[in-house]
Structures are given as structure tokens and as C-alpha cells.
């Protein structure tokens, strides 16, 4: 990680190289401001790590970018779509993995990936390529996901994102429940995704790991960006 960069709002939100532009974004949950004015610009094709303590707003930023939340104040443009206006055109371009994987236990790994691929009309070639990219072996393809380990399930879920050719991957605590080897493997897969052109945003409590892998680190405290670091 190189030089620290002060947080400055970027007004160039029409630029096509920006995957995410948040300007003074406020999201209120009940009476509690989960985001209290976030300014953030994420370039396309970068691997971004959101860091911060519990309640800092990491999950809220990811859900805002997924179109699951709308800003109460400020602006949020994701892939040049105004989330406050209508997030619908955005959704099939974005893949969001929360704390769960969105898998069906009684379907096999292949059937799960095929199902998610079919939601955007992707074909069998996309599925096979995604399974290969996520290092899902022939032995695992036909196993029901209820019999897979946490790391294997995560890889199947990621294969679903890859098969859908999502432009923006939003991953909330993707390392949770994985052993060291599986975390390393996941990091390699996320890096490969970003290198292939996807924008990857993830949240994590594992500061050292995030520092080592991301292009753009974002520290959140009390619903605001406190520091940004770019490679």
C-alpha cells in the first residue's frame, strides 16, 4: 500500500472509468444514520477493501451499491446508474454476496451456477468457464452443495457471479468461516476477477489481509470515510 490520499469528493461522476461514485451519501436506518455523508470514488477494474469496526457502515455501502438501499441524501451512482432514481437497470450487472451465499442446498454445484447464470441468459460456456475460473473440480461439480465445506460453497457462489459476467462484485465479509488456505485461494480468485476487468469491493475485519491484496483501501468510521489508500 502506498501513499495515503485525503478524502476528496470527486465531481467527475459521469466518467466512464468510475464504477462507483458516492457523494455525501447519507443512509438512515430508523433514527440511526448508518452512513453519515460518504464520499467515495471507485475506478473500474480495481479491487477495493472496505475496513472498519462493527457498525462503521461497510455493509451499508455495499448494499447501497447493490441497489438494495437508496440514499436518503446525497448521490449514489453505480455503473453510471443513479441508485436514488431507479436501481433496476443496475441489478443484473451487479453481484452481491452478503454473509450468505444464495445457494440451494439440494442442487449440485453445477446446477446452482447454471441457475444463477440463467437469470441473465448466460449459456453453458459461461458456466463451464466460471467453474474452471473458480477452481471447482469435476469431482465437486455434481455434489449437492449441502455436502460442501464453507470455502467450497463460497467458490460456488463466486462462480455464479463470474458466470453472470457481473461488472461489479460486492462481497460482505467474504473471508468469514474460511480457513487460511481457503482465504488465500479466495484472494487469488478475487484478484483474478479484478484483473479480468471486474470491479471488486469487499468488506473485511482482516486488516492485514485486506492491506496486502487490494488496490484501494477505504477506512470507514461511524458512517464516514476516514481515510483512503490507493496503490
Amino acid at each position: 500500500m502506498s501513499a495515503d490520499r485525503p478524502t476528496t469528493p470527486d465531481r467527475d461522476h459521469g466518467s466512464t472509468d468510475a464504477a462507483v461514485v458516492l457523494e455525501a451519501a447519507v443512509v438512515v436506518m430508523g433514527a440511526f444514520p448508518a452512513l453519515a455523508g460518504v464520499d467515495l470514488r471507485v475506478r473500474r477494474g480495481t479491487l477495493v477493501g472496505l475496513r472498519g469496526p462493527n457498525g462503521a457502515g461497510k455493509t451499508t455501502v455495499l448494499r447501497l451499491c447493490a441497489g438494495l438501499l437508496r440514499p436518503d441524501r446525497g448521490t449514489a451512482r453505480v455503473l453510471n446508474v443513479d441508485v436514488a432514481d431507479d436501481p433496476a437497470p443496475l441489478r443484473w450487472r451487479v453481484g452481491y454476496l452478503g454473509h450468505s451465499n444464495g445457494l440451494y442446498d439440494d442442487l449440485t454445484a453445477l446446477e446452482n451456477v447454471t441457475f444463477w447464470a440463467s437469470t441473465v441468459g448466460a449459456d453453458r460456456g459461461d458456466v463451464d468457464a466460471a467453474m474452471a475460473a473458480m477452481e471447482i473440480s469435476d469431482r465437486l461439480r455434481d455434489v449437492r452443495v449441502r455436502h460442501l465445506s464453507a470455502g467450497q460453497r463460497r467458490r460456488v457462489a463466486l462462480a455464479g457471479l463470474v458466470a453472470r459476467r457481473c461488472e461489479l462484485w460486492l462481497l460482505d465479509e467474504p473471508h468469514t468461516g474460511l480457513d487460511v488456505d481457503a482465504r488465500d485461494q479466495l484472494d487469488r480468485l478475487l484478484r483474478a476477477g479484478a484483473d479480468a476487468g471486474a470491479t471488486v469491493m469487499l468488506s473485511s475485519h482482516d486488516l492485514d489481509r485486506v492491506d496486502a491484496m487490494v488496490d484501494h483501501g477505504v477506512d470507514l468510521v461511524a458512517g464516514r470515510v476516514s481515510r483512503e489508500v490507493r496503490r
Binding site: 441489478r91 444464495g102 445457494l103 442446498d105 437469470t119 441473465v120 459476467r165
Partner: protein, 231 residues
Amino acid sequence: MSTPPGVVATARMIAARDLRIEWRARVVMNQVIPFAAVTMVLFAFAVDDTGALGRLAPGLVWLTVMFSLLLCAQRAFAIESADGALEALRVAGVDPVGIFLGKAAALAVQLLALAVVMVLAALILYDLDPPAGGVVLLVTSAICATCALAATGTIYAGLAAGVSGRETLLPLLVVPVVSPVLIGATRAVEAALGTGGTAVADGWPWVGLLAVVAVASAVVGALTFGSAIRD
């Protein structure tokens, strides 16, 4: 770039997936049908009067199907919420009308299979012999009633899916709403079996009522399901 499937293709995809999961898990086969069959048998022991059983059989069949609807509808959304798949479907921008129609169709197939077993059980256990013209009425009313039950059950199970205490909330919501279906189906089957002192022709107006309820439920579900599953 691939394009998302339309409503019909989405519905087909969702229905096929739900039926595949049910085929694998065998919840209807191994749990719901035995539950319904035991209810029929116990009722036969409790009312030890063949004449009375014959008169009560149509109501009992549909009461059993209605209780089974609650189990099946809960199950249909439990597979979506177990690993966050429903939220993933929303993020992926999968058409909620397609989701509704697909889940309702899969539920209708399961309920129809259950209704067939229950009617056959009633014919055997309660010593009933439908007139020749009654079979067509029996089949038509069963199709219309199961479609109406499935559409209504899908709406309310989707609504209750994100609510704590959904297991007890769903019966409270569904049972009053499906009472016209229960009454219509019971009257139609009484006419088909000749147990209510009515002719077969008297059953067709009730089939008309069931068809209207089925269509109305499907339209209401298609219009409201997106909002129902939003939070």
C-alpha cells in the same frame, strides 16, 4: 452481452428449480403426504359411520389439502431464505412476476399431486363411488382449486418470508383468505361424488367460482409480489 430472460422463461426456470429441489428433498413425498394420509385415516377411526364419512369426505379432503398448503408454502420460501437466495434474486434483478408465477406453478403441481392422493384415499377409505360424469368435474375442480390455493399461498408465504414468527403468521393470513376456495372445492367434489344430495351439474358453478379466484389470485400476486418480497 447476454440478456435477462422474460417473464415466462423466468417462471419456467423457477418452477423447474423448485420441483427439482422437491424431487431431491422429497419433503412432500415423505412428510406432507403421510401427514395428510394419517389425518384421513384418523378421521375414519374417529367418525365410525360410513354414511357420515361419505358426506364429510369432500370437506375433509380439501381441509387436508389446505393444511398441506401451509406446509408446502412455508417450505417453498424456506429454501429461498436458508442461504439468502431470495435477496440474491432481488439483487440479480430477476423479474418478481416470473418468480411468483414459477413458485406458484411448482406449488400447484405439488398440491395437485397431493389432492389426487387424498381423493383416491377418500374413495377407498370411505367407500365412495363417483358417477361417470363426476370424474371430469372432480379433475377440473381439483385443478382450479389447487391453482387458487397455490397462488394465494405464494403471495402470503412471500409476504411472511422476511418476518419473524412467519410459521405462525402464515396460517393466520392464509386460512381466512382461502375459505372461498375451501367452500367451492368442497361443494364441487360433493357434486362430483354425489355425496351432498346434488347432481353433477350442480358442481360446475362452483368450478367457475374456483377459476375466478385462481385468476384473481394470480393477477393480484403478479402485481404485488415484488413489493411483498422487498423487505
